[in-house]
């Protein structure tokens, strides 16, 4: 909680400080900066303070001392006292690699910085999904995966869809009041505006769909996007692709091809999809259960084209029947799921199903 200074007392305090100042500067207290993010700042006074004051013995500010401290608000936190020691515990952990400034009541400034034990990765784009070089015309959603949290509300400045003539479409994606990040703030979701996804014969009065079949595009993340913390910026990243026909039919399990694993091994169950499915949903909407109905834990992979999914169990396959359980809300990259297509005829009946199952039996080894 920030301390608020009441004007009347402040005047008194300044008078006292001036007379105490010369004495105190010579015997200023000892500041003990934190050495881990969750530590506090300790200040051991050289002598007991005389008189009362609402001002704290010291305050901590973000940034170097050269920019401190008029017009800056101190970090929110709590003070506690023990004998001559004043301890400040911040409301939130200190950031590694960030310079902070301590200002004592007498105006003395000192800096501290907590050295990171583990180097924070430099900000970089790790991947853009869908990948694989070919995506349907009515692709609804892209994911951009970063190495570290990025500075918020800069996506519009750095992300662009560029076509094969070099024309830049800065408005291809929907921007909301909140950006759509995952919980650890390293994966950004970008949505195409469904209103711009073309259906039917092109008409020359439209703004135009963002993607047109057979044309090539690049989803570009321009260089220079800063990380949320730290001085570094990401370098340029491009994901080039050619646009394939729109996906307009509901997916069907009949179009999935299974490759069965072998009993007694941890070999992979593989599913070849007929179309690319959502990169994130395939990691949690397709599960394996055994004959007792228990979940089988293991490792899931999805290839760059998002059409080939595999599962290797943590423990070797036993004999018997297993089931692949698929959440019917699993979407392909155009937002179609097993219940309905994203874009559907008025009056189309949604297939009222929540889960789908594919039973399978691992094969005996040796064929």
């Amino acid at each position: 909680m920030a301390f608020l200074t009441r004007p009347s007392l402040a005047a008194t305090w300044v008078c006292c400080a001036l007379s105490m100042a010369t004495q105190s500067l010579a015997q200023d207290g000892q500041i003990e900066p934190p050495n881990t993010p969750d530590s506090s700042v300790d200040y051991t006074l050289s002598e007991r303070p005389t008189g009362l004051s609402d001002d704290p013995e010291f305050q901590v500010f973000v940034g170097p001392s050269g920019q401190c401290c008029t017009n800056k608000s101190p970090i929110s936190g709590n003070y506690s006292f023990e004998e001559l020691k004043v301890t400040f515990t911040p409301a939130f952990e200190f950031l590694e690699g960030q310079t902070y400034t301590v200002q004592t009541r007498h105006g003395a400034l000192s800096e501290f910085k907590i050295t990171p034990k583990v180097a924070q990765p430099r900000p970089e784009v790790l991947a853009i999904y869908p990948g694989g070089g070919q995506i349907p015309e009515n692709t609804l959603r892209f994911y951009i995966e970063f190495s570290t949290p990025m500075m918020p509300h800069r996506a519009e400045d750095f992300i662009a869809l560029v076509d094969d003539t070099g024309a830049v479409d800065d408005a291809a994606f929907m921007m909301f009041k909140q950006e759509i990040w995952n919980e650890d703030r390293t994966r950004l979701t970008l949505l195409m505006d469904p209103g711009r996804i073309k259906r039917g014969v092109a008409q020359n009065m439209t703004l135009g769909p963002a993607l047109e079949e057979t044309r090539r595009y690049a989803l570009v993340v321009r260089a220079g996007w800063p990380g949320a913390t730290g001085p570094h910026v990401a370098s340029r990243y491009e994901n080039c692709f050619v646009v394939s026909p729109a996906l307009r039919a509901r997916p069907s399990l009949n179009d999935w091809d299974l490759s069965l694993p072998t009993i007694g091994t941890r070999s992979r169950l593989a599913i070849a999809f007929d179309r690319p499915f959502d990169a994130v949903q395939t990691s949690h909407n397709i599960r394996i259960i055994n004959a007792k109905g228990q979940g089988v834990t293991g490792d899931i992979t999805l290839d760059a084209s998002q059409t080939y999914w595999t599962f290797a169990p943590d423990k070797p396959w036993t004999s018997g029947t297993f089931e692949i359980v698929i959440d019917a809300h699993l979407e392909d990259v155009a937002g179609n799921n097993f219940r309905d297509t994203l874009d559907h005829p008025v009056g189309a009946v949604t297939r009222e199903v929540d889960q789908l199952w594919i039973p399978f039996q691992p094969m005996k080894s040796g064929g």
Binding site: V62, A91, F94, Q178, E183, D193, P194, T229, K292
Partner: protein
Amino acid sequence: MNTVKMTALAALMAATGLTSVASAQEASFDMKFAGALEFSDDGTLFVGDNYQGAIYAFDMTGQAAPDQIAPVNIGDIDVKIADVLGVPKSALAINDMAVHPVSADILISVSRIGNFESAPAIIKINQGGALEVLDLASLTVQKQALDNFPDQETTFRPRGLGQMPPLARDIAKGNIKLSSLAIMDMEYHEGELFISGVATDNFLSTLRRMPFPFTDEQSSANVEMYHISHDQFETRAPIRAMSIQTVDGKSTLVAAYTCSPVVLIDLDEIVDGAKISARTIMDYGNGQPLDIISYSLNGEDTLFLTNNSRSPHIIPVASLNGVPSYTKGDLPDGGKSDTMAIMPVGDTGKAVMFDGMSMQIANLGESLFVSLTRDMYTGSLNMDSNFNGFPNRLHNLVAEFDFPQYYADK
């Protein structure tokens, strides 16, 4: 779920061992994200937690109203908030802003991006302009989890394998958190909370409705966009911002969603499992809508719509009475550019002047707007309060009156 005071809680828990009471106590400590904000009429604060898939309701009722509500102006508000949270402003995401209907305290929900994670915080700015981190632990709280698929009670079950016991809880459907929903807007209306959102990894139901105080009941509906010229097709579409008004005598949700179409949805249509074809009544221009707030302008109920790339738009609520929806043949499919002769379509409002770009806006009392405004020249983000009758900083505008010659000639 009962609301309980934390101090009385320990005794109560010891006596009864009620686990539901335990969750009420823990609620304020397990909030992982402070996003969309909304106040009830008497001061309950609703907060959307995108990572928990839940709404928190903090009791901030019983506060005193100031004699007169004053404007609050703070320059570089993002820097000031980041300073207090101990981070550079690059590590701060401002999510939403709301004003307490009685005390006129301004609340801003933020994400503070830390070493390898982010923390939620709500900043409170009082009428005196003092800024502090709201101490959520000191407030009584209720939490309502958003069901993933509230109309279904199924669990994962092996099919065709006879009478099997229920599956291990960790894959039972009911226990899968709705952790992928970014709650974009909430509206409190006559004892109910309406919630719209956009999921991080799916494109499903985006409009929910639940009573407050929370009872665990909730309804979930799909809002569909009707393709005007090809009237045979509908597409699921997300709502960005909404306001509840009386239109043609009925309680109606006025919402902005894709591009800048404005749609109307009768509240009666928002029932569990419904597929609602929202009626598109206008497309006032390109750009991305941010907020819709309602206020009184010259004695008339009016909507104020902000947008991330155009001037705000004002729409008198009365102008929506009897307004036609788009019908077949009126409009071509897909996005329409501002420069086309056909645009704007069905616009019963008008664009108004606004100095800078409002990223967040809320009513501050009856006669003021408070806005987090991106300054066009300096690029700084400032908290500006202005009279809602003419929401501009008049002292910042250079006009002929500013030049000495004007007075010399007079």
